[in-house]
């Protein structure tokens, strides 16, 4: 066992300059490293990301295989359920996996902010970075970097698995019109969705409330808005975050689509930007 002495902390560690030599400068690299340490050092990160990979690729593979195997079987409710698949195979392949896979990204995005508050580590974080905003910026940048790499890998895997399974019925390749944009766009959509959830986590600061809000916005709101009548209803529906953002991973426009894929993605980015700015303003103003 070690016997330690109160004298020890007085010995300034070598290579540590005193405060006097520290002029005002933002230690961007240090902040990024710190946020990376924070994200990688809790288990919830690893588990939600594993779930993301498994659900997104697994669901695409499973559902595509199921539909191909039952291609000629009569569909519940009749009608030609394959029309949309034939019209927009890449949208179908990506959409099946993302529909549930995106929820893991939502949960992780929320947790990254809310666990700071629930555990109280926000106090340690803000004592270290009292200007607050650099911490938020570093956290967003590190999280987005992890997401964009992982999400792009996952959606490309998802596409290759799905298109291989679907090949006997509908042929689709990256060289088809809009397909590469849709696959790349799917990864970008998931990345921005992570920041969207993170901002809501930072605004609400409680895990359960924030997760409920994000899932409400992503899953429930589109269902409700689809019921709105008339032209204005269609416009509200089109500009909702998830409705607009998801356009970017479909190759062909849906019936009555008001926005182009990139316009829709732009609208989603604007929603996210507004929330991130609100999160930043409140982080700055509220007591920690």
């Amino acid at each position: 066992m070690t016997v330690t002495s109160p004298a020890s902390p007085s010995a300034a560690p070598a290579g540590v300059p005193g405060p006097a030599s520290q002029v005002h400068r933002i230690r961007i690299a240090g902040l990024l490293r710190a946020e990376w340490t924070k994200i990688r050092s809790v288990r919830s990160t690893l588990w939600t990301l594993i779930l993301f990979v498994v659900i997104t690729i697994g669901l695409t593979a499973g559902l595509t295989a199921l539909i191909v195997a039952n291609w000629n079987a009569p569909r519940a409710g009749g009608g030609n359920g394959h029309a949309q698949i034939v019209l927009d195979p890449v949208g179908f392949i990506l959409g099946t996996g993302i529909s549930l896979g995106q929820l893991t990204i939502c949960v992780l995005g929320v947790l990254i902010m809310t666990t700071e508050y629930s555990s109280g580590v926000i106090r340690a974080s803000l004592l270290a970075v009292p200007k607050r905003l650099p911490m938020l910026a570093a956290k967003a940048l590190v999280f987005a970097s992890i997401l964009v790499v992982l999400a792009e890998i996952v959606v490309f895997c998802s596409f290759f698995v799905g298109s291989a399974l679907l090949h006997s019925k509908v042929a689709v390749s990256l060289s088809d019109s809009g397909v590469t944009r849709a696959v790349v766009g799917a990864g970008l959509y998931l990345t921005v969705l992570g920041l969207f959830a993170m901002a809501i986590g930072g605004l609400i600061r409680h895990t359960a409330g924030a997760i409920a809000t994000v899932i409400g916005v992503v899953l429930v709101l589109p269902i409700l808005s689809g019921l709105l009548p008339g032209n204005w209803g269609a416009h509200i529906d089109a500009y909702l975050p998830e409705q607009a953002g998801s356009l970017v991973y479909g190759a062909r426009p849906r019936l009555g689509q008001l926005l182009s894929p990139w316009e829709g993605f732009g609208v989603f980015c604007l929603w996210t930007l507004v929330l991130v700015v609100a999160c930043a303003v409140l982080l700055e103003r509220r007591d920690a």
Binding site: M1, T2, S10, P13, G18, P19, L127, A128, P130
Partner: protein, 343 residues
């Protein structure tokens, strides 16, 4: 050096910190004393830029905390509330803090060694006992080798060995010229640790004086006298052996009316002062025994009961009865905090 000027913080209708003004000087341990709910933690959070004050300000070495370039290298803080993610290891907690300040990673290991947590460096902090969590908090506070330390109830949850270690650590660091500001609701603990005391109750300043002075004031009573014939009565009291102290009207008290003199008398009972005044036909407007600091504390403590603190708190606030002998000298030198450390 910490400067606090007119610091005020309200939460809704409750004023937690009410116009506090004081300095915390380097080179000594300054105790921050008051009953639970007096506003000690809030004051520390305001100094550290975690909460925004409604009025007033606090600076550390001439800077607002927010403007410190590498805050952890200037100020170390141990807050009362937990500030560690339960799923993160002790080492990773210190590592990310070190990275924000551009400190080398080995600094985290050095601090874990120092507080005796090296053996559990990789264990998740959620499984730590209160004492281990407290030691991790102290490791975080000392991480940047700061010149200023703010410790909120640092001995909470520590075993007697740990309490002694903290006491000696604080004295040692103060002896190196550092600024040590340590809060407690225990008068006894502060009496043996602090050189100087800042005492607050319900967010207001009660005393800002050396520890010995506070103890002296706390154990002697004085009598407040208000009379139109102040000069004559002062002379009579002095002649009878009482000590006259000029008094300022307390907060919320009316200023002297019609030139009536107001002063405090120590070393003499109120009854004796009344007799002196009567025999000399001096009119008295007021003759009030002034509560000692101890009594003031008791009163404040009973008022904080409404916030849910149990009885018995008053006992903890009480001064060591009359025969206080001063800080226990000749305490053993460096003491290991390591659990079951070599003895």
């Amino acid at each position: 050096m910490i400067e606090v000027r007119g610091l005020t913080k309200r939460f809704g209708s409750k004023t937690a910190v009410d116009g506090l003004t004081f300095n915390v000087e380097p080179g000594r341990v300054t105790g921050f004393l008051g009953p639970n709910g007096a506003g000690k933690s809030t004051t520390m959070r305001l100094i550290l830029g975690l909460d925004w004050p409604q009025a007033g300000w606090a600076k550390i070495d001439g800077y607002f905390y927010r403007d410190l370039p590498d805050p952890l290298r200037t100020v170390g803080a141990l807050l009362e509330a937990k500030s560690v993610h339960p799923g993160r290891s002790a080492r990773n907690h210190l590592l990310f803090l070190a990275q924000t300040q551009g400190l080398p990673a080995r600094r985290a290991d050095e601090m874990l060694d120092l507080v005796g947590l090296a053996d559990v460096a990789g264990k998740r902090a959620g499984g730590f006992s209160l004492g281990m969590s407290q030691r991790l908090g102290i490791a975080a506070a000392l991480l940047g080798d700061p010149q200023v330390l703010l410790l909120d109830e640092p001995v909470n949850g520590l075993d007697p060995e740990g309490v002694l270690w903290i006491r000696n650590l604080m004295k040692h660091l103060a002896g190196q010229g550092r600024t040590i500001f340590v809060s407690s609701h225990l008068m006894n603990e502060m009496a043996v640790t602090a050189d100087h005391l800042i005492v607050i109750g319900r967010g207001r300043m009660i005393a800002d004086a050396s520890t010995s002075e506070v103890i002296t004031r706390g154990t002697s009573t004085s009598v407040r006298v208000r009379t139109p014939d102040a000069q004559r009565l002062r002379e009579l009291i002095a002649a009878e052996g009482g000590t006259v102290v000029a008094a300022e009207p307390g907060p919320g008290e009316p200023p002297p009316v019609n030139g009536a003199g107001l002063f405090d008398v120590t070393g003499m009972e109120a009854a004796r002062i009344g007799e002196i005044a009567a025999s000399a036909s001096v009119v008295l407007h007021e003759l009030t025994p002034v509560a000692s600091l101890e009594e003031a504390f008791m009163e404040l403590t009973s008022q904080t009961l409404e916030f849910g603190h149990g009885p018995g708190q008053g006992d903890a606030m009480a001064y060591p009865g009359g025969g206080y002998t001063g800080p226990a000298d000749g305490q053993p030198g460096p003491v290991g905090l390591g659990k079951g450390g070599a003895r």
